[in-house]
């Protein structure tokens, strides 16, 4: 499975379903968005400054590497935002595009 995070315990929680880039994704109640996304994918977002993909760094709301967006354009810090049923998440910033800087 192409995932980054691996669940080790606490897997008997109720399921919730959210939308990620328009696709339904199953998660567990109490998951952060970061865990919900990275247990089924290898990254959270595209870096604005190079071609690299990012998957968060500090998990304690300090580095801001784990930003994702709601479809309405609201920015969320995936490491500190719990999932809830019906969330509509994008891993790219809606209505924003700029050339990538490659040094």
């Amino acid at each position: 499975m192409i995932s980054r995070f691996v669940r080790l315990d606490e897997q008997h929680r109720p399921r919730v379903t959210l939308q990620v880039n328009g696709q339904p994704v199953d998660a567990l109640e109490g998951d952060t968005l970061m865990v919900a996304l990275l247990t089924q994918s290898r990254h959270l977002r595209q870096s604005e400054f190079d071609s690299g993909l990012r998957a968060g760094f500090c998990l304690m709301a300090a580095c801001q590497d784990c930003w994702v967006w709601t479809r309405q354009g609201e920015r969320l810090r995936a490491c500190s935002t719990p999932v809830s049923s019906g969330m509509d998440i994008l891993t790219y910033q809606p209505e924003a595009a700029w050339p990538v800087h490659e040094s």
Partner: protein, 478 residues
Amino acid sequence: MASSRILIVGAGPAGVRCAETLVRHGLRPTLIDENRRDGGQIYRRQPEGFQRDYRTLYGSEADKAKALHDSFDQLRPELDYYSDTSAWHLSGQRLYAHQQGRPLELDYDHLLLCTGATDRVMPVKGWQLAGTYSLGGAQIALKNQAVSIGHEVVFMGSGPLLYLVASQYLKAGANVAAVLDTSAFSKRLSALPKLLSRAPLTARGSLLLADLLRHGVSLHFGIRPLEVLGSTDSGVSAIRFARADGSVSEICCDALALGYHLRPETQLADLAGCAFQFDELSRQWLLQLDDLGRTSVPQVYAAGDGARIRGADAAERAGELAAIALLQDLNRATPELAARQQQLHSELAVLSRFAQGLSEAFPWPAQHAAQLSDDTIICRCEMISAGELRRTVQAKGALEVNRAKAFSRVGMGRCQGRYCAHVGAEVIAAASGEPLQVVGRQRGQAPVKPLPISLYAVEPTDPAPQESMQQPAPEVLS
């Protein structure tokens, strides 16, 4: 006496013990915390609905974690408590914060900063690849969410947390590929007299090491990290490092936990105008404090790892001492408090000696900053390399960290220098030949963390442009 408005920032070990002492003396402090639940990072509580018990979550520290959580639960009705609340500015005895999308402004007479710490990280080429996490972050993944940061995890850096988290991963069933420590094992022996000030803890550390070895985890001391290998789309695939004898090795993995002990979170103290001093041993700027935790600014106090990196046991005691300082300043000193102060000081003396031993046993590898290749990224946020920073130093003569920040943008990205400013300063010092304390300290700036513009913006409801400049009145609590 008119009641004094007391604001505590941070509900970790220092903040909770501070609040408890004040409540016991008849005061009602306001406590704000960024997390959803109390406990700070070290005693972080798992979300509601998780089942693991204290022993599983906190190991040998289970009793202390439970005691702190129980104290908080008892205190809770005696406090004005705001969880999930992020402070972003301080000015004129008012703290600006936001909670769940709404602005919150808190006026105070006394401010107690128990803001904790973040991982101190030395960059390595390729550390921007997806799958590199801070060591503290790796621990939070396990403690708070019961997940491992990868299928095969390498732990690299230095400090006691390196071994603790690696063994917690092992115990939880994760695959630990290796533990790579930049500190030579001999440092531990020379620091032993100080480490033996807490002999049981030192013994427990040795047991962790033995446990890792018994499970066949590859352990290396005195290494130099060379590169995180991988690709921009799939992330980390291996770690390349130089062994103590100079030979180069690679270990396959899909995740790296990277950390070199901690650095204090001091942005709010900085905005309050508190003075700093340079600590030679740790090569860090620390708040100037008296022996109770008073900063250089009247009625502003600091405790816990945000003040001095000494760990949770010391944080609990320092939090209580800061509360005692405040009580003294309110002319509420008692003989009992004086006796308690003396006891806390003697306990802290032991804990400080041990912390110093740890700094000597697991030193910050400052020399690695000079050896970072020019293509090593210093600023992960904006992908600024060591070479770009060095060119700023050489071409623009930017020998001071804030000036170099303005030219290079190192320290200006979304983490606001938390993970790069201290290393940027080391790179500048090495490139310019100036001592680190002369290169200086990156100033804190508001907002100390990014905040949504929607907090202070309103939808234009009328064509008149001045209307859209109006701000909603935030809740001000005084």
